[in-house]
Amino acid sequence: MFEIVERQEMAQGTIISNWIKAPKIAAKAKPGQFVILRANDKGERIPLTMADSDPAKGLINIIYMVVGKSTALFKTLQVGQFYQDVIGPLGQPTHLDKVGKVICVGGGTGIAVMHPIARGLKQAGNFVYSVIGSRSKDLLIMEERMKAASDELMICTDDGTYGHHGFVTDKLRETLEKHKDIALAVCIGPVPMMKFCCKVTKEFGVKTLVSLNPIMVDGTGMCGCCRVKIGGQMKFACVDGPEFDGHQVDWDELNLRLRSYLVEEKVSYDQFKAGHGSGKCSCGS
């Protein structure tokens, strides 16, 4: 059992941050790695990146967007309550080498995944440009933490309520044009965003890392559910990734496979909402 010791709602309750007591995992966690969580006996195994960790206190931080049944169930868990299972750290850590100038692009909850990587790259002695974006000002997360993790922070909103009015790709292109010596880009967010960022960086010939989020089950390379095509080769994102060279990723295949269970996901979420709203459920909130 893994206790929640701190909980915060962000982006108008659509994104939740939990600090969870998991000393063994905290001692090992590196930027880019993830954990798999299950709320209870009947729960699905849900992969979430560790946005931060505190080995001294034995804590890990997850930040997730509420998109379906399992994340909605996670949202009901309050401080002092428990996740039944937390497994990790899983996946390969990011290589935080000094390459000079880097640009980090994060969209939506991808910002949370990006944060420890940007911070690590800065600590490694790189000059870090960061671009973060969301649909609207209210939905933007972690501005302060990203500011501290970057040398220069740019903000974009789709509706223009804050920062640049437009997509993160605009600022990415602008920065790459201005600073021809940027050696590495890291882009993390929804699949379409990563795909378009990679198109831009490819034009500039800048090596680009992305973090892929295919559907997973075990997270140990046992099932093959998380298979993605990288440069024409089958790779398992849970053990070979989740980070890959963005210019090699078959985005269309990833996008299709993410839609595997659309019908079932709706059934599950609708049932949860019905139970939860009617007071029949025992989640305590």
Partner: protein, 472 residues
């Protein structure tokens, strides 16, 4: 030998069948297929054993269970005596009675099988174990005084459980580390409920805990802790991590939605209980037309799971013929009874799918014929040119074998691996090239059987005990 055949002949009792759910009922539910013997049936079957002086059945058993001795106890109605006899050699009889390939082991050797049907040794073993679990006294075997030595067992499949059980009884302090959220290995995530109820696996694991062992689930060794880190806190480490790597067909279209590795399909259904979705949260594609590729136990389990998930057609597509099917006889028989359709001598070429939705719509195969025997002694399938044909399917399950998962081995310097990535260990002791590290089961032999994994565990536990008590 001849003397045994001439042993006093009373009335001839036929081999007793276990009552089972009718095929048309069971193909729609996940409950266990055979219900097991009643005490009367078991005692009647036990009478069929002629108590050979030099029992051949025992030679056929990889862990040499005292078969005639336990059967004699059943015959007398001393069921506790029977289970105690079995336990001397086999710690997981409820499991083995259900899943061992008896027809090529004990029963395959049984003298009665020469003229008649062999004694139903597997059914009797299962009976003794079930009887004990359901009605027996709560007995725990005697345990040696604590030695103060600490043992880490990585992986909670049959081989890890065997090592743990043996060493706990010998007084060592044992902790089992398991990557998944439940212990049991393939017994919990792979073999379906209708063949091996999960309650049995849970009770075996619980038994270890009652003996004083610790089981730490959610521990992916190589990630959460490395083997070298374990060696700092433990005197020895046993690696029983299985052959957990899915093998794909490597044909076009394997990315389509609805194409599963058997590991994923069975894990979703068994471990995550997707058959009970949405009561459980994990979904699975409940195909109407399902094809399983392969011919072993894993393929039979997948095809029979598909039926129970509601398939109208569940095909097994296998490149050789029925005679070469490597699955247990009982599984093939049950699959046929339940209506699994076999397409023999067929090899898949490519999956067909809808590029807009990403969903699988069919598979194109090629007909094969049997040629000369290959290295395995089985006749090699050869393609018949121009014999392509298509099958309409919405779900495919690939069950053509497993490989060695590199997660642990790659993070453990000093282990010797063979060319397929399996750990090299001494077949007599389980010792690896790395000091204080033993290994056994599927991660050493490649995919094998429950009883062979347990046998390897037994050899290793003896060797580990020698090392811990005598220092070699």
């Amino acid at each position: 030998m001849s003397e045994e055949v001439k042993a006093p002949k009373k009335e001839k009792i036929p081999r007793q069948k276990m009552p089972e759910q009718p095929a048309n009922v069971r193909r729609h539910n996940f409950e266990e297929v055979p219900n097991g013997y009643t005490p009367e049936l078991a005692m009647k079957e036990a009478e069929r054993c002629i108590q050979c002086k030099d029992p051949r059945c025992r030679q056929g058993c990889p862990v040499e269970v005292e078969i005639p001795a336990f059967i004699a106890k059943i015959k007398e109605g001393d069921f506790e005596g029977a289970i105690r006899k079995i336990w001397e050699k086999n710690a997981l009889p409820a499991v083995c009675g259900r899943v061992c390939p008896q027809e090529v082991q004990c029963e395959g050797m049984c003298i009665m099988g020469k003229k008649d049907a062999p004694v139903a040794i597997g059914n009797l073993e299962r009976f003794a174990a079930d009887q004990q679990r359901k009605h027996g006294r709560d007995i725990l075997p005697p345990k040696a005084a604590p030695t103060g030595k600490k043992v880490a067992v990585v992986g909670s499949g049959p081989s890890g459980l065997t090592v743990a059980g043996d060493l706990i009884l010998k007084g060592h302090d044992v902790t089992v580390f398991e990557a998944l959220h439940l212990p049991g290995g393939v017994l919990i995530y792979g073999i379906p409920e209708f063949r091996l109820p999960k309650e049995i696996v849970a009770s075996e694991c619980h038994y270890l805990e009652r003996l004083g062992g610790k089981i730490e689930v959610n521990s992916v060794i190589g990630r959460s802790e490395t083997v070298d880190e374990l060696l700092e806190h433990f005197d020895v480490v046993y690696l029983g991590v299985g052959a957990g790597l899915p093998v794909f067909l490597k044909i076009p279209g394997e990315h389509f939605i609805g194409v599963y590795s058997a590991n994923e399909y069975l894990t979703r259904s068994n471990l995550m209980k997707a058959y009970d979705f949405p009561n459980y949260d994990t979904p699975i594609v409940k195909g109407k037309n399902v094809a399983t590729f392969g011919g072993g136990n894993v393929a039979m389990d997948s095809a029979r799971t598909a039926l129970r998930l509601g398939a109208e057609h569940s095909y097994i597509i296998y490149r050789r013929s029925r005679d070469e099917l490597p699955a247990r006889g009982a599984e093939v028989h049950h699959a046929e009874e339940e209506g699994v359709e076999f397409l023999f001598l067929s090899n898949p070429l490519r999956f067909l799918g809808d590029d807009a939705t990403g969903r699988l719509t069919g598979v194109e195969c090629l007909k094969m014929e049997l040629g000369e025997p290959d290295a395995s002694g089985r006749r090699r399938p050869v393609p018949i040119p121009g014999s392509e044909f298509q099958v309409k399917i919405d779900t495919a399950v690939i069950a053509i074998g497993a490989g060695s998962n590199p997660l642990l081995t790659k993070s453990t310097p000093g282990l010797d691996l063979n060319k397929w990535g399996y750990i090299v260990a001494d077949p007599k002791t389980g010792k690896t090239m790395k000091p204080r590290v033993w290994a056994g089961g599927d991660i050493v032999t490649g995919s094998a059987t429950v009883i062979l994994a347990m046998g390897a565990g037994r050899l290793a536990s003896n060797s580990i005990h020698d090392y811990l008590t005598m220092g070699w």
